[in-house]
Amino acid sequence: MLDRRSFMTAAGSGFLSALLPRAAEALERSDYVFAAPCRKPDGSYAVAVAAGNGDILHIAGLPDRGHDVTFDPVSGKAVVFARRPGTFAVAFDLTSSGVQLTITSPPGHHFYGHGVFSADGRLLYSAENAFETAQGVIGIYDCTDGFRRKGALESHGIGPHEILLMPGSKTIVVANGGIETHPDFGRQKLNIALMKPSLAYIDVATGDLVDQIYLPVALHKLSIRHLCVDGAGAVWFGCQYEGATGDEVPMLGRHRPGREVELIAADEGLCRSMKHYVGSVAANSDSSLIAATSPRGGVAVMLDAETGRVVSSRTLPDVCGAAADGTGFAHTTHDGLFDVHGRAVSSGTIAAWDDHLLRI
C-alpha cells in the first residue's frame, strides 16, 4: 500500500496533469488513493480511481463487469480483472495517464476476478478456471512483455478465487473455493454435494504445493473465497456457505502458517448477520483490525486481529468493498456509496461499486 505521496510519485506527472482541477485538488487533500471496478449510471462498466474522501480522480471504461483490482507499486501499473466467468483483464499504466492494455485469458480458461503481481512487478498471477477439466489454474503473465502469457501453475483445487502473495514473496496463497462452474452453464454451481474447498500455498518458482489446509469434513460446503494477509503473516479468510439456510457455521477463519487453522466461532451471531456470505476481508494498516463485509446481510464487521472477537458490526446495505484507510477502513457498496469511517458519500459518476476495493 502507498500513501498519497508515493502514489503520486508512482503515477507520475502524466497522471496528475490529466486530472481535472477538482480531482487534482481532491488528491492533494487526500491521504489515500483507492481503485475499484464500478458501474456507471448509463449501465456501462468501468474502473475508477478515487481519493480517500470518495472523490473520483479517474475513470476508464471496461468491456464488461469487473471484480477486483491489483496494483504494482514498482511500475505503477494496475490490473482490473473481469468478474467470473469473464475472459478479460485490463492493465492501466498510471505513469502515462492511464494507457490501457487488454489481457485475455487463453482459450478454455476464464478469469475468476482476482490476481496479484509478483513483488518485483515483473509477473502477474491470475486465478483461472480451465473449465473443460474444471481445474483451478494460476495463470502467469509477463508484465515486461505486454502481459504475454508465460505459463501456469496448478491451484490444487477447483474454483480458485482470491490469490495473494505471502510475506517473503516466494509463496502464493490461494483460496480454492471448491465450486465447479462451466461457462456453458452460466454461473450455476455444478458440484455442491462434492465440494472440497481448501487454502493452498504454492511456491511461485517451482509450482510446488507447500501446504494445503482443508476445513473439517462437516464444513465441506463452506467455500473459502476471500483473503487478506495481516502484518504478522497470518492469512485471514472469508467464506460463503452452500449448505442449509439455518446452519450455524463459522464465516471467517485465520491460518498462521505452520499452525492449526482457527475458525472464528459462530456464537457471535456473525453467521446469521452475514447470511452465510462474506464478500471481502481486509486488514488495517497496523494489522490490529480485520474487516469483513457481507452484501447479503448488509453488514460491515470489524474483528480484533489478536483475539478474533468482533469489535463492531455496522449495518450498511449492500456493502462489499473493504480496504484499509489508516487505522480503520473504507467501504464501498453495490448501490454506489463510498463510506469512510461511517460517513457515506455518493458520486454522480458511479451508480454501483463492484465487489472489491483496493487501496493503491
Partner: protein, 365 residues
C-alpha cells in the same frame, strides 16, 4: 435457499408493512405468511406427496421386474420411471429445508453431471457387480451420484438395459435398479413426512422471528417462495435449455439434455414450467401486490400460456428438435420466456411487494 444456486437478497422497503395493513388501506390483501401458507399447503405438500407415491410404485415395479423379468415388466418399469421423473419435475426447484438437508436433492438427481462422474461410477458398479450397491443402507453411504434418478435411468435405459426383459438378462443390474428405487422411496417418504410435520420446516417458514435460524422476517420467508420462481427460471435457462441448444445449430449438444436416455427431456421441461405456474397461481401471490401493479400477474400468466403453447408445438424429440430450424426456434423462444418470467418475478413482482433485489449479491461473486 442458498444451496446449489445463487440467492437473492431482499431488503425491506416498507418498514412498517404489513403490521399496519388495516390502516394503510391495504387490509384486504393477505399477509405475507398467508401466501407462504398457501404455497406449503397447495403446492409443496401435494408435490412431495405425489413424488413419494410415485417412488413407492417405482420400487414395486422394479421388484416385480426383478422377480419375473419380461418385456411387459420392463415396459412397465420404464413407464413408471417416466411418471416418477415427472413428479420430480414438480418439486425439484423447492431447494430449501428438507430437500437440501443431507444432500437429498443431489441424492435424488445428481445432475448436471457435466464430466460424467456419476455415470462412470454407475457403470463401475454394474461392471464390478459391486454388492455394496445392493441394500438401501449401504447404497445410501455411497456417492450421491449413484443412488438416484441418474442411476435408475441408466439401469433402465442405458447400454445393456434391454437385457432386463428376460431371465437370462442381468439380475445384478435389476437388483441395483430396485435398490435405487427403494432408496428413492425412502428419501421421498422422509421428505413427505418432513413437510407434513406441522412443527417441522413448515413452522420454520411460517414463524419467522429473531429466534428462527432460517428466517428472521416475514419478508425473508416470502422471499424464499419468490426465489423458487426466480431461480427456477434461471435454472431452466442456464442448465436445461441453453447448454443443449448451444449458440448455433452446429454447437447444439443434445447429449447434455436432461433425462435424454429415457426420452423425458421435454416432459420434464414442461413439468418445470407447469410447476412454477402452479406455485404462482395457488399461492395467490399476486393478491399481495398492490392494486396498481396487479398487471404483473396478467403478464406472468400470459408468458406461462406462451410457454404451454410452445411445448404443445414441439413434436420432435429433443435430439432432433435442437437441429430442426422451426423446432429449434420454439426452444429458443422458451429461453426468452424464462428470461421474461425471471425478470417479472425478480424485478416486478418482488419489488411490488417491497422485496428489493440487490445489484450484485443476487448471484454472488
Amino acid at each position: 435457499m442458498k444451496t446449489s444456486r445463487p440467492a437473492l437478497i431482499f431488503a425491506l422497503l416498507l418498514a412498517a408493512w404489513p403490521l399496519s395493513g388495516a390502516t394503510t388501506g391495504w387490509g384486504a390483501e393477505p399477509g405475507r405468511l398467508e401466501i407462504v401458507r398457501r404455497a406449503i399447503e397447495f403446492h409443496i405438500r401435494p408435490g412431495f406427496e405425489r413424488f413419494s407415491n410415485e417412488a413407492e410404485l417405482a420400487q414395486a415395479d422394479m421388484d416385480a421386474l426383478c422377480a419375473a423379468p419380461s418385456p411387459a415388466a420392463l415396459e412397465n418399469a420404464r413407464r413408471r420411471f417416466a411418471s416418477l421423473v415427472s413428479a420430480w419435475a414438480r418439486i425439484e426447484f423447492l431447494r430449501f429445508g428438507p430437500l437440501v438437508d443431507d444432500n437429498r436433492a443431489d441424492r435424488i438427481h445428481f445432475w448436471p453431471d457435466r464430466r460424467g462422474i456419476g455415470l462412470r461410477q454407475v457403470q463401475r458398479i454394474l461392471a464390478k457387480q459391486d454388492v455394496s450397491a445392493i441394500g438401501v443402507q449401504t447404497l445410501y453411504g455411497k456417492s450421491v451420484a449413484v443412488q438416484g434418478l441418474t442411476a435408475l435411468e441408466f439401469v433402465l435405459f442405458g447400454t445393456g438395459a434391454d437385457s432386463l426383459d428376460a431371465d437370462t438378462g442381468d439380475p445384478f443390474r435389476c437388483r441395483y435398479g430396485a435398490t435405487v428405487a427403494a432408496n428413492l422411496a425412502r428419501i421421498s417418504e422422509d421428505l413427505e413426512t418432513a413437510w407434513n410435520d406441522e412443527a417441522g420446516y413448515s413452522a420454520t417458514l411460517l414463524k419467522p422471528g429473531e429466534d428462527n435460524q432460517a428466517y428472521r422476517t416475514e419478508d425473508e420467508a416470502l422471499g424464499e417462495i419468490v426465489n423458487v420462481m426466480v431461480h427456477g427460471f434461471e435454472t431452466l435457462r442456464d442448465i436445461k435449455l441453453q447448454p443443449v441448444l448451444g449458440e448455433t445449430v452446429k454447437k447444439a449438444a443434445p447429449r447434455r439434455a436432461i433425462f435424454r436416455r429415457s426420452g423425458q427431456t421435454l416432459a420434464v421441461l414442461e413439468g418445470n414450467f407447469q410447476s412454477l405456474q402452479h406455485l404462482f397461481e395457488v399461492s395467490g401471490i399476486i393478491d399481495a401486490v398492490p392494486e396498481k401493479q396487479k398487471w404483473i400477474g396478467g403478464s406472468m400468466l400470459l408468458e406461462f400460456e406462451n410457454a404451454q403453447r410452445t411445448f404443445d408445438g414441439i413434436r420432435l424429440p429433443i435430439e432432433q428438435a435442437v437441429k430442426d430450424v422451426e423446432q429449434r426456434g420454439k426452444l429458443t423462444y422458451l429461453v426468452i420466456l424464462t428470461r421474461s418470467l425471471q425478470r417479472l418475478a425478480a424485478e416486478q413482482l418482488a419489488v411490488a411487494m417491497g422485496l428489493a433485489v440487490g445489484f450484485s449479491s443476487l448471484d454472488g461473486d
